[in-house]
């Protein structure tokens, strides 16, 4: 009897202990910069769903403000003792740099199982997509980003009998009409240079011959060429008709977006993320749409291109729980999760999602634009060395603000790029 009781007790204890062990949670650290908006809500819902289905895994989100994230928020975590298991990144040079520095986990094996790789649209695995290095996938794509398009206030356009312009000259004339009528045609919050810079990068890509463009950014050729000058002249043109808001250089990107939503300006060139902010910032009845930067030079190979990139998630090479992290990423990129993701205003890279999801008209329009575009130009600051891209952005700002002529800005740009040495 004693022995039996004893073994019963022992079994009970063993059972308890093993259950506790099973209940011990694995914590997966996930860092990103989705601070709010509809997409954050969608993400949190997906995470909750995953945790409910996998009680032994807990996802811990470490969120940074967008600019802080890309400047010091991410790098401090990557180099710390407690590395993030999953981190948000932009495709292109940044992925490559992470791989070279030893922060990236090779996802080849994971992608090969369960047809994960094939579940994505084939365009995310092309050479130019920037998700792979040496043929191996390192990034799990999460969204297509339309880096820059021109959002406009439909109501004000109607008031002035305006329609989206087809050519650049029409665009300038349109801006002039609005300026003369006392409106602020374009609002841009350029105190960090990238909003206007991205747009300028796109404009330049549609004016400058592709080889010359790439060579300049790779520091293999000069910026001070007649083609680049023509590109910056276009910005000066806009400045001369009074198209830009006077406080462009001191205004932040978020306040500029809010100004657009509060009808303080008619147009706002910025990226696709504007859509998920509409709920928060726009008044009832605010009607808006967007048009791509109009054609400048019909003969140019990239004439009807859009500027965009892929954003997604990477797993840290030194992650303590790569399997759990990958499990979560598979869940996040499943059809069901992606439908919720798309409906929050994102363009999903997973095949078939866009057809099934109930997308708002803005996201639909952007998708149509991106998939119909003959080419996608990647933004300079995630494709080429950051200091060079930033210098170009600054030259564009000089031109758009009327501080320097196009030529002067390019002379300055070449001097700056030379002085910084090969990056």
């Amino acid at each position: 009897m004693q022995a039996f009781k004893f073994s019963l007790a022992a079994t009970a204890v063993a059972l308890m202990l093993s259950t506790t062990a099973a209940m011990a949670q694995t914590e997966v650290r996930f860092t990103h910069s989705f601070t709010g908006g509809a997409s954050r809500v969608a993400l949190d819902t997906i995470i909750a769903g995953f945790e409910a289905a996998n009680p032994d895994i807990k996802i811990k989100e470490i969120v940074f403000d967008d600019d802080q994230y890309s400047n010091q928020g991410l790098i401090t975590q990557l180099k710390s003792n407690e590395v993030p298991d999953i981190f948000f990144e932009w495709a292109g040079l940044r992925v490559q740099r992470n791989v070279e520095a030893g922060y990236a986990y090779d996802l080849s094996e994971a992608m090969a199982t369960d047809g994960w790789k094939e579940s994505f649209s084939p365009s995310v695995w092309t050479d130019g997509a920037g998700t792979m290095v040496d043929g191996k996938p390192y990034m799990v794509p999460l969204s297509f980003d339309l880096t820059n398009t021109i959002w406009y206030n439909k109501t004000i356009f109607a008031e002035h009998n305006l329609t989206p312009p087809k050519t650049w000259d029409e665009f300038v004339a349109l801006a002039k009409t609005l300026a003369d009528a006392g409106e602020t045609p374009i609002v841009e919050g350029n105190n960090e240079f990238w909003p206007l810079g991205n747009w300028a990068g796109h404009i330049a890509a549609m004016v400058v011959p592709p080889d010359e463009y790439v060579a300049a950014f790779k520091q293999e050729g000069p910026f001070n060429t007649s083609a680049f000058e023509k590109a910056l002249e276009l910005l000066v043109q806009l400045h001369d008709v009074g198209a830009f808001n006077k406080d462009m250089q001191a205004l932040g990107a978020d306040p500029a977006m809010a100004t657009f939503f509060q009808e303080g300006a008619v147009m706002h060139p910025i990226g696709s993320w504007l859509v998920s902010e509409t709920e928060n910032l726009a008044e009832e009845g605010f009607e808006y749409s967007q048009f791509n930067t109009p054609v400048i030079d019909p003969a140019h190979p990239l004439a009807n291109s859009v500027i965009g990139t892929i954003t997604g998630l990477m797993v840290h090479k030194n992650s303590a729980h790569p399997d759990e992290a990958i499990k979560f990423l598979k869940y996040l990129t499943s059809q069901e999760s992606q439908i919720a993701w798309a409906e929050s205003g994102q363009m999903s890279p997973v095949a078939g999602v866009s057809e099934k999801a109930k997308l708002d008209e803005q996201t639909q329009a952007m998708l149509a634009l991106m998939s119909g575009a003959p080419a996608i130009v990647p933004p300079p600051d995630t494709t080429y060395p950051v200091p060079v891209a930033e210098a170009f952005y600054q030259a564009a700002a000089y031109a758009a603000a009327g501080e320097k002529s196009a030529k002067e800005a390019l002379v300055w740009l070449d001097e700056t790029v030379t002085a910084m040495g090969k990056q």
């Binding site: 740099r97 105190n191 006077k246 205004l251 950051v386 200091p387 002085a419 040495g421």
Partner: protein
């Protein structure tokens, strides 16, 4: 720094090290050591990600020809001069003005000091809103007064941006200097003022011939603090403009941080810091020598 002219020490010997040791240990570990480690990085090309590559003096050469960096010194000197007006002098004047035991004055002294207590984030957000072009308080006031033409994008114009940062800095820190001078004023014996008054001196005369001379040491120390603090100025510039527009409000500290974090040029950023430290040290040493020679202050 002459510390010889003090009273004889009450104890001598190596055992006394123990009193200063904990502070020096803490200071050495978290201030001097990272500074020394940083100096190594000044001689490398490093983006913070990959391994550092040796650069020799390349970063220093680049720094000395970097126009924005050199201009940042001009801006910071202008800022320091403005500080001497808007913070030190203003603080001094207010200390005299608020030097009274009448009811209400203590409260006013507190109110004047209160901006010092606020954090930079609070001050920065507040003033960014006040100076906003479309919706800001300042432009709204101007429009309300019928001076709508004067409304400008204050922080977007190179000419006015630096000026406004100096004004906001004055708003924030004048109280600090006011308190220091006020404390010193309280120690001036009343009978000196009585004597001056009996001699026929009016208030203004008293200020220049009694108050100022008695406060000479304080003024010199405050100027030193303002100069050294000015060179290190970062928080306010970062929050309000971060060097915009077009580097018109760039000061050494903001430019350094930009290089290290935004531009991934950590080696270069550290080299610039080394140059800055050398410059500030030289200025401080010269200043200290001069004021010691005037036999006014002991360090």
């Amino acid at each position: 720094m002459a510390i010889e002219d003090r009273a004889a020490p009450i104890s001598s010997g190596a055992g006394n090290l123990w009193f200063a040791a904990p502070a020096m240990l803490l200071f050495g570990t978290f201030v001097l050591w990272p500074l020394g480690a940083s100096v190594y990085y000044a001689f490398t090309f490093w983006d913070g990600f990959s391994a550092p590559r040796w650069a020799g003096f390349a970063n220093f050469a680049r720094g000395l020809t970097d126009i924005t960096y050199l201009m940042s010194y001009v801006h910071v000197v202008l800022y320091i001069l403005a500080t001497l007006v808007f913070e030190v002098s203003f603080g001094l004047v207010m200390a005299v003005l608020l030097n009274s035991d009448r009811p209400g004055f203590a409260l006013m002294r507190g109110m004047f000091f209160s901006p010092v207590v606020l954090s930079m984030s609070a001050g920065g957000v507040l003033w960014t809103f006040v100076l906003d072009y479309r919706t800001g308080l300042l432009n709204s006031v101007l429009k309300a007064l019928g001076l709508g033409d004067w409304a400008q994008p204050w922080m977007s114009q190179p000419e006015t941006a630096l000026l406004f940062i100096c004004l906001v800095s004055g708003w924030k820190y004048a109280g600090f200097y006011m308190v220091i001078f006020f404390a010193a004023l309280r120690r001036i014996p009343k009978n000196i003022y009585e004597a001056a008054r009996l001699d026929g001196a009016n208030a203004l005369h008293q200020f220049f011939h009694v108050t100022l001379p008695m406060l000479r040491q304080n003024i010199l120390v405050c100027v030193l603090l303002a100069v050294m603090g000015g060179f290190a100025g970062f928080d306010l510039f970062f929050t309000m403009s971060n060097g915009q527009p077009f580097g018109a409000t760039e000061v050494p500290a903001t430019w350094i941080i930009k290089q290290a974090f935004d531009q991934d040029q950590i080696g270069y950023g550290v080299a610039l810091t080394v140059i800055l430290t050398v410059v500030v040290s030289l200025i401080s040493i010269v200043y200290i020598r001069l004021s010691e020679r005037a036999n006014v202050t002991r360090y």
